[in-house]
Amino acid sequence: MRRRLMLALALIGGAAAAAQGDPALFDPVASVVMTPRCVNCHQAEAPRQKDIGVIHAQQVVRGKDGHGSAVLQCAACHQAVNTAQGKVPGAPNWHLAPLSMRWQGLDKKGVCEQMRDPKRNGNRKGGEAVIEHMKTDPLVLWAWNPGANRTQPPMSHEDFVKVLQQWADAGMPCPQ
């Protein structure tokens, strides 16, 4: 009984320490996820394009499942790979991030809180699940190989995973 109590106290203590991790650990994460390659598709009603985040031409909209309107779907143009000499972006299952995962209008703090909230991050419980998305999702990975001289995130994907891990290990602290 006493051992269990000690363990529980240790866990609570660990969680409290984690929650007090340095919020600055999110800064390098934010420097990647708040770039146009990520934010342009973490939108509410319609995707955006280019580094200035202009609303997607052709009145492309989210539609009921994030894949476009009933008959103007993302896949009408976006294939599994880039096409037209890279001018038309492509990756498997091109689509908007789920509505719950939208970053439109959020500041750094808002994005951080969204990323650690399973209700708004695709039900990813804990840092490892969030990191898994960033490590393996084809649309995330496309940002590091976008072609056609598109701007890339400010660090390598390998370094991005490292800073994510540091942020997760510290308990996913967010700016106040």
């Binding site: 008959v71 779907q73 096409t83």
Partner: protein
């Protein structure tokens, strides 16, 4: 040799896997109804149906079309919706130069199949990827409403 299912028939073509479907349609199969516009999925002139959904043939690798049902402008009139669309197009005399109209009709047919009585908003969201340099948009909209049975009115 690549096997494709086009307009209800199986076609065998010689093409590299990344060849755009449009090139195969026009240059290999000599089906010139589908038009080349921009080559970058920006104008919609090359719209075909792939498993019932509009797709831009100019950027669709032929390898991605294997095993899927492709319908082009040459056969859209064989479907009830496509026939209604073509009739409405003719009655309202929609085209001016006509170059974009294959794509417009393919997009409109898919729209009416999915949404039999589309609102103007539905039309905007379905048709905004199909550009018309002649500006026949008001007639396109009227023809879609007419084909939907609304007498050419919203």
């Amino acid at each position: 040799m690549i096997s494709l299912h086009i307009n209800g028939k199986t076609k065998q073509v010689e093409a590299a896997p990344d060849t755009p479907l449009l090139w195969v349609l026009r240059d290999e199969l000599h089906m010139s109804g589908t038009k080349f516009g921009c080559g970058m999925a920006l104008c919609g002139a090359c719209t075909v149906h792939v498993d019932g959904q509009p797709a831009r043939a100019c950027v669709l690798p032929v390898s991605a079309a294997v095993g899927r049902k492709i319908v082009t402008i040459e056969a859209i009139g064989d479907t009830p919706v496509g026939k209604r669309v073509q009739q409405a197009w003719a009655e309202i005399d929609v085209p001016q130069c006509g170059y974009c109209q294959s794509g417009q009709i393919m997009a409109a047919s898919a729209l009416l199949k999915a949404i039999p009585k589309p609102s103007d908003k539905d039309i905007d969201q379905a048709m905004s990827g199909n550009i018309c340099r002649c500006g026949t948009y008001p007639r396109i909209r009227a023809a879609i409403h007419k084909a939907a049975g609304n007498g050419g009115k919203a």
